[in-house]
Subunit: 414 residues, 2 copies
């Protein structure tokens, strides 16, 4: 009977731990078929350095609490494995560690890069005579993986952005007659506007202008749209993606601000947009940058998102036990209204390194809003609430005890 | 039987509408003693311009929904009445409008300035032979009113900041081994550090450095404190008040950043602090500016805060019916553990234009944290959750219909 290895990869989310919980609980339910789940401390680096966490030493209650805890319970990393050609030794080390700890299942919880790593580990392990079943568990707030209808982590960020846009808009609406008329919210999404699109989920009577990375920033058209809203509604809310660019490819956020010493300052897109409006239209503004708050906001997670994150972890183990290899459990939308979904397995070779962009028909003709098709797609993903338990006014999030497995190999020299 | 006038003043909060709900519902329960509650459209300006909203024309369900709706349901304004000496006409106009609509009760929901206005209206109305009972209903996220133990609106902001600090810290903790080690969160509070202090409510095993407006920014001491945390915990979270200043009195946020054209850029304190750490210690950072999100976040309101906001609105009407004048219902803390409180009436002459600062013994010796006394004070204020109802994944906030009362006076020329 083989043990399993689980690792979290890349930027963490409000629900990646729900997937971890799904993997671990499902493995424990199948204790006659699958051994211990070892988790990589700080992701795949934990495997390379043989820093493995024994999840069987965590209490059942703590593992269960992962389902309502944001962040990466075992640590994550932004370490990208090099290509097989340029650093074969790294992949071989991974397989050596797996072999030393009798690991036959590799569950890798991440985005496009980790799907690629998963695929390579599976291929190489076979050629090395120690075959590993590698299953990728999707996760990314960027929502950019192919095959799966959506990615766990995204729905909760989308809910956070939609709710925050709504709340700030209510605030500004009630002050606009004599004070602030412009509110700018900067959101994540360097390449794709999925997260920014969530700002469009508020009701039609809330004037929101969205700036997508997919649409070149046109200052004149933008200011006209903002001014029209202020004249009609008394105020305007702007949701700007951090990835919004001028037509020449520069990011809005790189507006060339310098401090007193002449050093380039990395600002944000929000203050740039806010200052632009002030300088041209003269309206008083406020701006916010949500940054990590948006992806860590488990207190406002989408119930759909939490359910799917858990279910995908569960499905990954079941696929492994069914003998599958080099696959990823993917969400398939079966109906929109009411929303239904199921899980099917997708081939890693079709997923690795493919980015799913927003379809052109999801962005409104003027480039500043979302279409009905986009709304229908997004709506179910933010549906439902799934509150964590609270203690003394704060969420009762869990911190893993992290019992380390004894090392069996000499240290790895990369 | 006299009617009542209710107005919202200054920056709105997650729970000022709960006070409005308390005023209106309590007046309606006493329909034999008090007439219609008219609300000022956009605050006191609505009285000056005779733009009164007839709250009796709103449905009972909509008035009830105010309790779970952030922002100012009737509109607010930052309009400060001038002194009685310099603009007596304005006060006289107010009283003329009250007289024209048979208004005998004035409920003003705001901070220090509005307490002052309340007092003056009461005094002048008596000398004009049309006595108005003026009751101030406290509201301010700044928590800086005297006599009352705390101010409605503050507890919910504090909860939002504490939860956000905790969630972002969990996020950074799980990435710090290979990526971001510093997270900076900028919070409101230009004069007092009450809101920043809430960042200190997270557990002791989360390394948080707080920058208060009360403590001159000492770059060297600050960097030492941050570095110590990174070396011990692997990361550090910084909560910086927008009001943090250098020893020479300049705000951190006015760091002198200039755009390509040499224009001064209004940044925020967060990017300044983040860049400072990067330039000196070299750590990778992320930063967020919560801005209006923090005071509008009804989705994460403190139950204590919502209850108190409603109870103060209720108490204001009851005090008016008991014949009181020039008073403010104030929260009196009767015990800490378990937390109990009651409402007593305070005299407006003791409240108007007095700012309550953070006691010196609430800030830790090193100037970067909160003391046990501060924690004991803050803890009960963020206790309990009070979720709004949701519809299609978004809070079901109410928008008032705003039936306007027919005008009886010629327009006012200020």
């Amino acid at each position: 009977m083989k043990n399993a290895f689980y690792a979290q990869s890349g930027g963490v989310t409000a629900v990646i731990n729900a997937s971890a919980c799904g993997v671990i609980e499902t493995a424990q339910k199948n204790a006659s078929k699958i051994g211990t789940v070892y988790a990589g401390q700080n992701g795949i680096i934990g495997a390379l350095t043989e820093n493995l966490i024994d999840t069987s030493k965590e209490s059942k209650a703590d593992i269960k609490a992962l389902k309502h805890t944001p962040s990466g319970g075992f640590g994550s990393c932004r370490y990208k494995m090099k290509s097989l050609e340029s650093n074969r030794a790294e992949y071989e080390r991974l397989i050596e560690v797996f072999k030393a700890h009798n690991i036959g299942y590799f569950f890798y919880n991440g985005g496009g890069d980790s799907a690629d790593t998963c695929l390579k580990v599976s291929q190489l392990s076979e050629s090395m005579g120690y075959p590993i079943q590698a299953i990728h568990v999707p996760k990314t707030v960027d929502n950019d993986l192919p095959i799966t209808d959506n990615c766990p982590g995204f729905g909760s960020v989308a809910k956070y952005i939609a709710v925050s846009t709504m709340e700030a808009s209510f605030d500004v609406a009630s002050m606009a007659a004599t004070s602030t008329k412009i509110f700018v919210l900067e959101v994540m999404g360097r390449h794709a506007g999925w997260i920014a699109a969530a700002g469009g989920l508020v009701a039609d009577n809330i004037p929101v202008v969205i700036l997508f990375p997919e649409v070149d920033f046109n200052q004149e058209k933008f200011l006209t749209a903002v001014d029209k809203n202020v004249k009609k509604f008394g105020y305007c809310t702007i949701v700007v993606s951090e990835g919004t660019k001028w037509a020449d490819g520069r990011f809005l956020a790189e507006q060339g601000t310098r401090d007193d010493f002449g050093h380039a300052q990395l600002g944000g897109a929000a203050p740039v947009v806010a200052n632009l409006i002030k300088d041209t239209l003269g309206y008083k503004y406020h701006w916010a940058v949500a940054d990590y708050l948006q992806r860590a906001a488990r207190h406002l997670a989408s119930k759909t998102d939490v359910s799917q994150a858990y279910a995908l972890g569960e499905a990954a183990v079941n696929m492994a036990l069914a003998g599958k290899n080099s696959v990823m459990p993917a969400i398939i939308r079966t109906a929109n209204n009411p929303y239904t979904w199921k899980i099917e397995s997708g081939e890693l070779k079709d997923i690795a390194n493919v980015e799913k962009m927003m379809p052109a028909n999801y962005i409104s003709k003027d480039g500043f809003g979302i279409t009905k098709a986009c709304r229908e797609y997004l709506q179910p993903l933010i549906a439902g609430e799934d509150y964590p338990p609270y203690k003394n006014g704060l969420p009762d999030y869990v911190v893993m005890k992290k019992h380390m497995v004894e090392k069996k190999l000499p240290p790895f020299e990369a």
